[in-house]
């Protein structure tokens, strides 16, 4: 359990970082429940426009739940989630999506009744500026080859690629990727790393959840540590070395 002091310093730090720009997403005292079990106990963090921020934490800490709460797909949630200066804690997920937030879920969410092309084309374009199909096939050549297979007939890794690819098309500026490297071959992981870097350079903002710390460290600007439904620490990439010790205790890296 994080003691109070730690939380305070963490919050102070993140506030300091946030001050550098206007936060695109700011989450404050977010609480969330699955049925009657209380999962998030007051999450607070910010993501600035153009940043890559990574949530780290043990299995079951509440990282996925945080992303889902921002997306509006957790039944009961309280607190404040502001995106682009708009309060969205009460909004329905289709509205949130239309504001330009897109999620690549942990379980991938490939549709069995749709073929690969349909899966890819499924999310409606919410604004211009998304990747074109050619750009996508450049990134993930596997997909082009299997375009007419049934979505869930793809290999595990191919499904992961598809899940990422389809939200790149939509033009959403704020992407939430839940463990995008899970089950991917090292070559592809490198590719995804490049993709994230490129997206960032093109002005996308990315909120990442990762178990693969090594990978995260190659792309992230800042880190937050989630434990037992709270943010217990946060630091930027430059402070990484200094925090390795702590990271070890948090994550066992």
């Amino acid at each position: 359990m994080a003691d109070l002091k730690m939380v305070e310093t963490a919050a102070a730090k993140s506030a300091a970082v946030a001050a550098a720009g206007t936060p695109l997403l700011s989450v404050e005292n977010l609480q969330a429940w699955y049925g009657e079990s209380h999962i998030l106990h007051g999450i607070s963090f910010n993501v600035n426009a153009g940043e890559v921020v990574t949530l780290l934490g043990r299995n079951g800490a509440g990282k996925t739940t945080t992303l889902k709460s921002v997306m509006g797909i957790i039944g009961k949630r309280t607190g404040s989630v502001r995106f682009d200066n708009q309060e969205i804690i009460r909004a329905s997920s289709d509205k949130i999506a239309r504001l330009g937030i897109a999620i690549c879920p942990e379980e991938r969410g490939i549709f069995a009744s749709l073929d690969v092309r349909e899966n890819l084309m499924l999310p409606p374009v919410v604004r211009s500026g998304g990747l074109s199909l050619d750009q996508i096939f450049d990134l993930f050549p596997n997909l082009k080859e299997r375009l007419n297979s049934q979505g869930t007939k793809l290999s595990g890794g191919e499904q992961q690629m598809l899940a990422i690819a389809r939200i790149l098309r939509t033009g959403a500026r704020f992407l939430m990727l839940d463990e995008p490297t899970e089950g991917l071959a090292p070559v592809i992981i490198q590719q995804i790393g490049h993709t994230i870097a490129r997206l960032k350079s093109e002005g996308f903002t990315i909120l990442l959840v990762e178990q693969n710390f090594r990978f995260a460290s190659t792309v992230a600007d800042r880190y937050y540590i989630v434990e037992h439904g709270k943010i217990i620490d946060g630091f930027s990439n430059s402070e990484l070395q200094a925090n390795m010790e702590k990271l070890h205790t948090y994550l066992g890296v």
Partner: protein, 251 residues
């Protein structure tokens, strides 16, 4: 020969409507070894597993397990011969407790499965063994929790415990570490190492440090066929493997 290699395939091929997911694969798994199957996404690893455990019917080729041709067998029969798999997307019985999950597997081993006239209290004698297995994978505190309510990584561990309960001669593990935190990975890796003394293990894994650390032999698959085979050190020097799988960062 049957003694040395517990599992052999010859010319194993699987075609999906003109697309060859697995092509002419000859695999030899040595008894008592940890054998890793790696390869880029879509290389056909899971398909191989499905063929070996008969969840898919091969288009061509032959599968020998303990010297016996199992090419035409039903999946449940293969499992009964001691060749048991785990799934890439975690497979547990969601509304049973962890203990019950493991017990279902023990029960198959030790009979009574068709006894509808007997009280299930006869199954209580499996509880001890089930708890031991849960201990082994670090799930003792979850024994009475329903599987749905367990975090993802724990479900993977539970799946391994359930598989172990069958006391299989050979286990096929499909990405056992996927989605796990570092601590869990270490735990499961240690577990696999420990059980490998007794069982033969064929596993698919993308986590290279795990592969490096655990496996005796590695087969690299690309586009459905075998690209290379050898130990970790040799393979990381192989240019073709680097290009197809490891990427630029390695070597």
């Amino acid at each position: 020969m049957a003694d040395e290699f517990i599992l052999e395939t010859h010319g194993l091929t699987k075609e999906f409507a003109g697309f060859f997911a697995v092509r002419d694969v000859g695999l030899k798994v040595r008894r008592g070894s940890i054998h890793a199957l790696i390869g880029p996404n879509g290389a056909g690893k899971t398909t191989c597993f499905n063929l070996l455990t008969k969840f898919l019917r091969p288009s061509a080729g032959q599968i020998l397990y303990k010297g016996r041709d199992i090419t035409a067998m039903a999946p449940a029969d293969v499992a009964r011969l001691g060749l048991v798999r785990s799934f890439q997307i975690s497979a547990v019985f969601p509304h049973l407790t962890a203990l019950e999950n493991v017990r279902v597997a023990l029960q198959r081993q030790h009979g009574h499965s068709f006894d509808f006239w007997r009280s299930k209290t006869v199954l209580d004698r499996f509880n001890g063994r089930a708890r031991e297995l849960l201990d082994d994978v670090g799930l003792s505190e979850f024994a009475d929790t329903q599987a749905v309510e367990m975090p993802y990584g724990r479900k993977r561990a539970l799946e391994i415990a359930t598989t172990l309960a069958l006391d299989p001669e050979m286990m096929l593990l499909d990405e056992p570490m996927a989605g796990m935190g570092h601590e869990d990975i270490d735990k499961i890796a240690a577990l696999i190492k420990r059980i490998s003394a007794k069982y033969t293990i064929l596993m698919v894994e993308h986590n290279l440090s795990v592969v490096a650390h655990l496996s005796d032999v590695i087969t690299v698959l690309t586009r459905g066929h075998v690209l290379a085979e050898g130990n970790y050190a040799d393979l990381t020097k192989d240019e073709r493997v680097k290009e197809a799988y490891l990427g630029a960062g390695h070597g």
